[in-house]
């Protein structure tokens, strides 16, 4: 049904992007990259201006869920200022979810996980790369794609232990002397991050 949907849509509307027509000819059962309902509604209201594009048209479509479990999991690890890993095929990823360290293997059930400050380790064959990430989100899709979005990440060997100790002491002291809820929350966050950093260097 989905395979015919783009073909039918591109026949029904006069304005059809060549992308969706091309999609109908190739065999991908994916949604068309142009939301036709939006384009139609737009044309009715403002016929003189081209409708704006939407992010879906700028993205490569994801492959559908395969029937058998693939051997590798494809990881996208992105930060605001850099895409650390993009579509890298690895054996296993261990992510620091709020409920604890979670290992992700190919064929993992689809999950949305909120991350706490901790170590993210990527296992590829025999080599392991460890990053310390501040919080973020991880999405694991049914087609063995893992998207990890974090705000900051550093390789573990870039962390300076003396600064970590200093920060931990400072925030513990702030926590004990905090008066308002906001100050307490901020100090608590500082303590959490620094103790996780401490654990990362020592553990």
């Amino acid at each position: 049904m989905f395979r015919n949907a783009p073909r039918l849509l591109s026949r029904a509307i006069g304005y059809s992007s060549s992308i969706s027509r091309g999609r109908a000819m190739s065999d991908l059962p994916a949604a068309p990259t142009v939301d036709s309902a939006f384009v139609e509604a737009w044309k009715k209201v403002t016929p003189n201006i081209e409708p704006p594009k939407t992010p879906l048209s700028f993205m490569k479509p994801r492959p559908p869920t395969p029937s058998s479990i693939p051997s590798k999991i494809t990881v996208n690890f992105v930060l605001p200022y850099q895409s650390e890993l993009s579509t890298k095929e690895v054996d296993m990823v261990i992510i620091p979810a709020t409920t604890g360290q979670m290992g992700v293997l190919p064929g993992h059930v689809a999950t949305i996980a909120e991350l706490k400050p901790g170590i993210l380790s990527v296992h590829e064959g025999s080599e392991v790369t460890k990053y310390f990430i501040s919080s973020g989100f991880a999405f694991i899709h049914a087609n063995s794609f893992a998207d990890i979005v974090a705000v900051e990440a550093v390789p573990v060997d870039h962390i300076d232990p003396s600064l970590v100790q200093k920060g931990l002491a400072e925030f513990t002291q702030k926590l004990s002397s905090a008066s308002t809820d906001l100050e307490k929350a901020e100090a608590q966050i500082g303590v959490d991050v620094h103790s996780a950093l401490n654990y990362a260097i020592t553990g």
Binding site: W42, K53, Y81, A110
Partner: protein
């Protein structure tokens, strides 16, 4: 006496031929000075002044183009690196610009400085078009404006619909923390069912694509995933961590907003510099052409005055001898 009269008539005949070129730049130089025979001549001084000012303008616009090119190089790298940031969210939640909700908030991103071509007008036109698209009974659409230029245009006719106005974004170099604080402010002050971000995506130095990103509030996401449709398989995702699904969805929506905003602001800044580069480039080219035309006029004027002098001398000499 008769010969002087013929020479005078000839002189008058010569003048119109010299200064009859249909030069558009001449129309602005009309400071007609009456010459010796009552004929008009344009002073070379005026043309020279105009040439000097046009040359200065050309230099300024060329310099602005260089500055914009260097700024573009710096920010393009960052924008391209941040492009991976919104893709996971779109991969998870899909993209539904045609979704029907009651409260829409349109976040229009524009520049603070001008002279950047038509990108700000495009953003405002798209925002207004979207406003019209989503107007209806018991539907509310509000604006949040980032940047002076869009504010100036939207304040004119939609003043009561603007919720928040944020300017001077680029005073300090853009970074994620700043955008996160901004996103926090917007989320605190504005109620929304769906947030629409309008910006110009940077495709290349000469092409900027107006883009509309949609972010749904957690309640709408919940509603859509339960009713099936585009977000139908969101339910199949297990939720790790947090106490309830609603809390996770709330955090997810806020995080998505800040990530998408960060990318949008960077892309818009890139587009602004690119548009400014091409605007300044065409401006300096126009100034160059204007300078060429003025140079021709100047030479013609100069030669005309020399010829006039020669005529006077010769006619004077022939009057003496003849």
């Amino acid at each position: 006496m008769a010969m002087a009269a013929t020479v005078r008539r000839e002189g008058r005949r010569l003048l119109p031929i010299i200064s009859s070129s249909p030069n558009p730049s001449r129309s602005a130089l009309i400071s007609d000075e009456l010459g010796p025979q009552g004929a008009r001549s344009i002073s070379t001084q005026i043309v020279r002044n105009r040439m000097k000012s046009v040359k200065n303008i050309q230099k300024i616009t060329k310099a602005m183009k260089m500055v914009a090119a260097s700024k573009l190089r710096a920010i393009q790298v960052r924008a391209e690196n941040s492009r991976g940031l919104w893709q996971p969210f779109t991969a998870l939640l899909g993209d539904a610009p045609s979704i029907d909700v009651k409260k829409n908030v349109i976040v229009t991103i524009s520049s603070d400085k001008g002279l950047c071509g038509g990108i700000n007008s495009t953003s405002v036109k798209i925002s207004k078009g979207f406003y019209k698209l989503n107007s209806g009974p018991d539907k509310e659409t509000k604006y949040v404006v980032l940047g002076e230029k869009a504010k100036a245009q939207l304040v004119r006719d939609s003043k009561k619909n603007i919720d928040l106005c944020i300017t001077e974004l680029q005073k300090n170099p853009l970074n994620y923390t700043q955008v996160a604080v901004l996103a926090d402010e917007i989320l605190k002050n504005v109620e929304f069912d769906a947030l629409r971000i309008v910006f110009n995506k940077f495709q290349s130095v000469v092409s900027f694509i107006p883009t509309l990103s949609t972010i749904l509030s957690p309640e709408v996401v919940e509603r859509e995933s339960e009713s099936g449709g585009k977000l139908g398989d969101l339910d199949s995702y297990e939720i790790e961590g947090g106490e309830t699904k609603a809390e996770i969805l709330q955090n997810l929506a806020e995080f998505q907003f800040s990530c998408v905003m960060f990318n949008a602001i960077l892309e818009n800044a890139c587009s602004e510099q690119g548009a400014r580069m091409s605007a300044m480039d065409s401006s300096s080219r126009n100034a160059g052409e204007m300078l060429d035309r003025l140079t021709l006029t100047y030479n013609r004027t100069r030669q005309a005055s020399i010829t006039t002098e020669l005529i006077e001398i010769i006619s004077g000499a022939s009057a003496l001898t003849g």
